[in-house]
Amino acid sequence: MPQPNDVILAIKGVSKRFGGLQALSDVGISIRRGQIYGLIGPNGAGKTTFFNVITGLYQADTGTFELDGKPYSPSAPHEVAKAGIARTFQNIRLFGEMTALENVMVGRHVRTRTGVIGAVLHTSSARAEEAAIRLRAEELLEYVGVAQYADFRARTLSYGDQRRLEIARALATDPQLLALDEPAAGMNATEKTGLRGLLESISRDGRTILLIEHDVKLVMGLCNRVTVLDYGRAIAEGAPADVQKNPAVIEAYLGGGGH
């Protein structure tokens, strides 16, 4: 069993500048195995930028990155996925014309190795791998609760189901860390409750989750620990209840709004 306390993701001193805008300055987080970690902050605080830096979509100007005790370099998204961080997107990015099942099967790409020759000759190892991919994808569809749409094109699924499918696709890469960018955005109350249940069960099954979220109630109820970003700086870090009382946070984010 892994130690409940060991750090799975340790990021220090991340800065990122877009022209004249300092989007991130000296941001760091440290996520322990099994946590649901929240990253919150007002609009434009730099949450998604930070997220894109971690997952290799943007290159940081400075910063050190460690995943599971080993340094990793977020220089390309596919390397990050291989290292063990899988993500979803704020504005859902599924493979619309592919079926739900195929979407999840694509997620297995990085953990499988059949090449052109294996695929064309249908070697026994290629066949076995293909069957394993399919089986795992079917299990994951079931797990997130969209198995009945396995054969439907992804774009035809309802909004909430598309979000679930995206999570299944990310889980298919066997991630050490599941990084979700505003998974509750645009969801109604019922869908949010369902999502919360799903995230809790993913966490119970031993996955570490990093969650960017706008919905403070969801974050406060779900996360073990949160970091608050404002104007590209981490202004508070701690257990949700403590952070909620932090004057800087109230000032920047919660203050006056009656959240």
Partner: protein, 420 residues
């Protein structure tokens, strides 16, 4: 576990049906040239070209249909394949060596020494067994070379750059006759060896059960075999993790990257695979015609092949084959049909419009006469067909079937298994 006992039982009759269908199709394809031959060998020739175009369309389909990379210079790989055959199966290589001797005697003499007097006199004449894989391999290499600079481009920009590359290859072929005469320039390369398997030479007379089998028909069977091989390759790739990665890139490149797909390698693989099919088709074209020249590899050809893919149904193999057959047969059918119907149609038009004033009457007949030329009509029908298809069937005549209309997903399969 339950499923494994259920599925084969349910699958057996349909599988039997599928095999039966395949045998019928194979028989029909075998007999087809005999039937077409009754109307003349030129009809078998039309079939041959249709098969070459099917190979091209299937190759381009990997790049455009699967990976979603709009390539307007695809014909370049056809050219690479054709000139590979032209250099390695014709007297042309002797000309190349001679021009080396004339221009750079020391290099030339060394090369003549290297290749020996026979090649210096007669050129290289490789067997088709080597030409086909070499043409595929060389075209694939060109696919990677031309693909690499375009990796970061998409859509219109990619189209423009690939269009440029296609033209560059053609212009190279046109001008690589000096100082070293590699391609013989605009005159093209002649005397390319016809296909021969050992002593079985396609250009000699052959017969089957006393029935003469013309050369074009032998090529038909060869091309058919290659098409079947390419379709087999494509289907296997499509249903593999590589095929899924191609489609994922087409659907959303950023998401594909984030799911761990090395988009650079997978895109280059698409370019290489697509190009290799084009190269094989080109080598066969060269052997079939016995002659290649740069003018066969213009932009219009690229556009025609792209039209085949789009008209048939991007990413759907049967659709692409249909598109290739329709668009390659269309001009040939018109060439035969239009002259025959020209006079009757003009006659009818003459009677129908005779009540107009003479000036209008003659103008109408004049315009109609101009349109009723195979070449003119071809462009007209071609354009009209494209517009109509794009308006009414934007995903092609025979697109990939829409999934998920019924509940035949794994849940349905599972409940069937549970119910049993």
């Amino acid at each position: 576990m339950m499923e494994s006992t259920i599925t084969p039982l349910a699958g057996r009759p349909s599988q039997k049906k599928a095999y039966f269908g395949m045998v019928l199709a194979a028989l029909a394809l075998f007999i087809l040239p005999f039937v077409a031959g009754l109307a003349g060998n030129s009809w078998i020739r039309i079939l041959d070209f249709a098969l070459l175009y099917i190979m091209l369309a299937l190759g381009l389909n990997i790049v455009v249909g699967f990976a979603g990379l709009l390539d307007l210079g695809y014909i370049a790989f056809y050219a690479v394949g054709a000139y590979t055959a032209a250099l390695l199966a014709s007297p042309q290589f002797a000309t190349v060596l001679q021009s080396f001797v004339d221009q750079y005697p020391s290099v030339g003499n060394f090369l003549v020494h290297l290749f020996g007097p026979d090649i210096a006199k007669n050129g290289i004449h490789l067997s088709v067994w080597l030409i086909v894989p070499l043409a595929g391999l060389l075209a694939a290499t060109f696919g990677v070379i031309l693909g690499t600079p375009t990796l970061k481009l998409r859509g219109d920009y990619l189209a423009i750059v690939t269009l440029g590359f296609g033209e560059i290859i053609r212009i190279f072929l046109n001008n690589l006759n000096a100082p070293i005469n590699l391609t013989n320039g605009p005159q093209g390369v002649d005397d390319i060896d016809p296909v021969a398997f050992g002593s079985f030479k396609f250009n000699l007379p052959h017969s089957l059960f006393g029935h003469p089998v013309p050369e074009v028909q032998l090529y038909y069977y060869l091309f058919l075999a290659l098409v079947v091989m390419i379709i087999f390759f494509t289907i296997r790739l499509q249903n593999s993790r590589i095929g899924r990665a191609w489609v994922a890139i087409r659907e959303d490149e950023i998401a594909a990257k984030s799911m761990g797909i090395n988009t650079r390698n997978i895109k280059l693989l698409a370019f290489a695979m697509g190009a290799s099919f084009g190269g094989i088709s080109g080598a066969m074209f060269a052997a079939f015609q016995g002659f290649v020249s740069p003018e066969s590899f213009g932009l219009t050809e690229s556009i025609v092949i792209l039209s085949m893919v789009v008209l048939g149904g991007m990413g759907h193999i049967p659709g692409v084959v249909l598109g290739a057959i329709l668009l390659s047969a269309l001009p040939e059918v018109l060439r035969h049909a239009v002259p025959a119907m020209r006079l009757p149609v003009l006659d009818v038009a003459d009677k129908l419009t005779s009540f107009f004033p003479p000036a209008v009457h003659s103008t109408i007949l004049n315009i109609l006469g101009n349109i009723l030329e195979p070449e003119v009509l071809r462009s007209l029908i071609f354009g009209l067909a494209m517009v109509l298809v794009m308006l009414n069937r934007p995903s092609g005549l025979w697109p990939a079937p829409e999934h998920g209309r019924g509940l035949h997903g794994i849940k349905a399969k599972r409940s069937a298994a549970e119910g049993a």
